[in-house]
């Protein structure tokens, strides 16, 4: 309006006649009808666009387009696990007298290749923490180099080998693992943010839709007053389509939010607890071995062992990671796995106590046997069982998270295509409905 009147002040009087003519035509009945039609068409177009674009965006978010459906988070977790396991395995291999056992050597090798593969997957998947990826890429070869140096010195019987192993472990724990942790945290948060985006209420599309319905009803009441016809077929069809659009939007949102809520409750939230628990167990295993390797300067490792196991199971049976995972478990099999893990942790604590008593009592070979022996009650056996149980529980809950996420993405199915189609029908209804009325005045 301001734009229309502003030039009118400076415009020559010849033009004023034209402006008056336009205003007069708008004020005439057919003119008014055209304006109302244009407004309704505009609102309809906006509502349809908001719906189509919004559902496309939220569908891709629910499917985890940005984070690959949490696959990046899984890879980042695998990276951390492999690195941490390599650290623990290298230390344990060092404990065995003479040449390290072949199975420990193999386990270390497969940890390093698993870490490299996971690092490549995270890098190619477009992980957001580029600095962490760069750091791990740069320092992992340095780490493996130090471990190999430690090995060759150890084979020659030189004590400088264990100094190289301690340096390698310091690099792993001080630099590599914190970088992998940052990577994992970023990807986990990323997935959660995406799901929150997908589950948010599509308020713009809903508001426009409801406004459109109100406008259409009001326009039809006016028309039926002005003419003798009670119904206008085009506008009635448009109204029905608008109602369908609003309902589809609203119900679709509720279904998606329910699926994503389930994905979090039955899946990703449990995955997070279990993954943290597995990592704490791995760190504790490394601590146990390094206390024996470092001997003399191992007190800090022993303290860290107690801290790590304390985060797994706490005395109050509520605040430990496994206690919380047990409370959060929604699946019987997962709960059974967590129960098994808790009893393994307690068994491990008992063996560890015996192991420390042996080592502190000067029985180093006895302590090493308890730490790495193949007996059913050795720390190695218990830890491997614990790690296996946790891995299985993580796999099961990750699968649930993925399925529910995919279901949520599926709930958007047809919304984009259907949205385009319904918007066209809606706009056509409005256009046809008014075109008939306007034609009557010609």
């Amino acid at each position: 309006m301001a734009q229309l009147t502003a030039p009118a002040h400076v415009a020559p009087p010849v033009r004023r006649g034209e402006v008056n003519r336009v205003t007069a035509r708008i004020r005439s009945t057919p003119g008014r009808l055209v304006v109302v039609m244009l407004v309704l068409l505009l609102v309809g177009l906006l509502a349809g666009t908001a719906w189509v674009i919004g559902s496309a965006q939220r569908s891709s978010a629910a499917g985890g387009a940005r984070t690959g459906g949490g696959r990046l988070a899984v890879q980042a977790q695998e990276l951390y696990r492999a690195l941490s396991d390599a650290d623990a395995t290298a230390a344990i291999a060092f404990l065995s007298s003479g040449v390290e056992p072949a199975d420990l050597r193999n386990r270390y090798q497969s940890d390093i290749s698993a870490a490299t593969a996971a690092l490549a997957a995270v890098a190619n998947g477009g992980a957001s923490d580029k600095a962490a990826i760069q750091q791990i890429s740069a320092q992992l070869p340095v780490y493996t180099g130090l471990v190999e140096t430690a090995r060759s010195y150890n084979r020659q019987g030189y004590p400088v080998g264990s100094a190289y192993l301690r340096e390698a472990s310091g690099l792993m724990r001080g630099q590599l693992l914190p970088a992998a942790q940052r990577l994992y945290d970023r990807e986990t948060t990323g997935l959660q943010e995406e799901r929150d985006d997908a589950a948010s209420l599509p308020w713009l599309a809903l508001l426009l839709g409801i406004g459109l319905i109100a406008g259409l009803i009001r326009a039809q009441l006016r028309l039926s007053q002005q003419t003798n016809r009670t119904f206008n077929a085009g506008l009635l069809a448009a109204t029905l389509v608008a109602v369908v659009v609003v309902l589809w939007n609203g119900i679709g949102w509720a279904v998606v939010a329910a699926h994503l809520g389930a994905a979090n409750r039955d899946g990703s939230r449990q995955v997070e607890l279990l993954a943290k628990a597995r990592i704490a167990a791995l760190n504790a295993r490394g601590d146990e071995a390094l206390t024996l390797v470092a001997r003399g300067s191992g007190a800090s490792f022993e303290q860290d062992y107690a801290v790590q196991l304390g985060t797994l199971v706490s005395g109050d049976k509520r605040s430990g990671l496994l206690d919380r995972a047990r409370a959060a478990a929604t699946d019987g099999a997962v709960r059974a796995s967590v129960d098994a893990a808790i009893s393994d942790v307690n068994a491990w604590l008992a063996v560890h106590k015996k192991l420390r008593a042996a080592d502190d009592g000067g029985d180093f070979p006895g302590a090493v046997k308890l730490a790495i022996g193949a007996e059913t009650d050795s720390a190695a056996t218990i830890f491997n069982r614990l790690d296996g149980v946790l891995a299985e529980a993580i796999r099961a809950t990750s699968a649930v998270s993925d399925t529910r996420g995919a279901e949520a993405a599926g709930a958007f199915g047809g919304q984009t295509g259907g949205g385009v189609l319904l918007t066209i029908v809606l706009l056509a209804g409005i256009g046809v409905g008014y075109q008939q009325r306007i034609a009557e005045y010609r």
């Binding site: 084979r155 019987g157 004590p159 100094a163």
Partner: protein
């Protein structure tokens, strides 16, 4: 004919390869951003510059370290409260190093701690129990030697430990069982000929050792860098992170034996008489240890241990000296 063709093909292949390489080099130069640099890996617990053990305040130099111990008992040698407690326990508990090659280290092949210090302690166990294996080893670092004695974690510590007036304030020492002196270990290609040439350069020693203090107080003012274990110093030297290692010649010989690319330089610039540390409240044990040392000096055991562990002709053992 065939050879000519092969030669031509080879030359062509070489030219193609070279141009490809050149292209690669050119593209890398253009496209790669400067690689981020990360700090080199270091031994855990490295301190650069090192914290120097409290030497200034209440420092004691007015004592005779070679005459600070107690004479072996003349009567029943194995009587006394500490000795009877050890006897009823059934084994001697000792603190040793597991990372000092030749003196106290874990043999990777057998998993056992072995070395010169270890063999001397086994002789004490032999005199007490008639069994050189009635002994339990606790691996401790240099910095833990005095605390381990004070809190009675161990009965004795034999870990390349120099008798000093400061240490005599806290613990007792046996008579001198080994004479060492501080020297310098550098890479083979180093031009340094002693501590005097290392001004402003980084020099490594173990945390809590007398060596780290000697480096800090050297006239040439080197930069002392400390690590928990002696082998950590060798790691730093091999990685080019320090210019030299300076400590007792005994320890340096052990490090040099693990790497043919290093050399010992300069004369001994300190006297480091080694003693076995004992709690101040265990005079009966102290006298008993000195009795064992008297025996191995005179019956050839000391020389035999020297030859076996240090793989060199044994000199005559250091003479005993007592304050009483």
């Amino acid at each position: 004919m065939t050879t000519t063709r092969m030669r031509v093909t080879r030359a062509l292949a070489g030219a193609v390869l070279l141009s490809l390489l050149a292209a690669c080099a050119a593209t890398t130069d253009k496209t790669t951003a400067p690689a981020p640099s990360f700090a080199p890996a270091q031994p855990v617990g490295v301190k650069n510059p090192a914290e120097i053990p409290s030497a200034a305040a209440g420092s004691q130099n007015n004592c005779d370290v070679r005459h600070s111990s107690l004479r072996p008992a003349s009567g029943n040698p194995a009587s006394g409260p500490t000795l009877s407690a050890i006897k009823s326990r059934g084994r001697l508990v000792v603190g040793v190093d597991q990372n000092t090659y030749l003196f106290g280290y874990r043999d990777p092949a057998s998993g056992q701690i072995v070395g010169f210090d270890v063999d001397i302690l086994r002789e004490v166990a032999f005199d007490l129990f008639g069994d050189r294996n009635a002994i339990q080893f606790t691996a401790i670092t240099s910095a833990q030697r005095i605390p381990a004695i004070l809190n009675k974690q161990v009965d004795l510590v034999a870990e390349t430990m120099t008798i000093t007036c400061d240490r005599l304030q806290q613990v007792d020492f046996s008579s001198v069982y080994f004479e060492a002196g501080q020297r310098v270990l550098v890479p083979k290609d180093s031009t340094a000929t002693g501590i005097a040439d290392l001004g402003g350069k980084t020099v490594c020693a173990a945390d809590g050792s007398t060596s780290i203090r000697n480096i800090a107080t050297a006239a040439s003012k080197p930069v002392p860098v400390s690590v928990p274990d002696w082998t950590d110093c060798l790691v730093l030297l091999q990685q080019g992170q320090v210019a030299a290692i300076s400590t007792d010649d005994t320890i340096l010989q052990g490090l040099a034996a693990q790497d043919p690319n290093v050399k010992l330089v300069g004369d001994k610039f300190t006297d480091e008489p080694y003693g076995i540390a004992v709690n101040k409240n265990a005079n009966d044990l102290l006298r008993f240890v000195n009795r064992t040392l008297e025996r191995i000096r005179s019956d050839g055991t000391w020389q035999a241990i020297y030859t076996k562990q240090l793989q060199a002709a044994a000199p005559s053992p250091p003479p005993a000296g007592y304050r009483d």
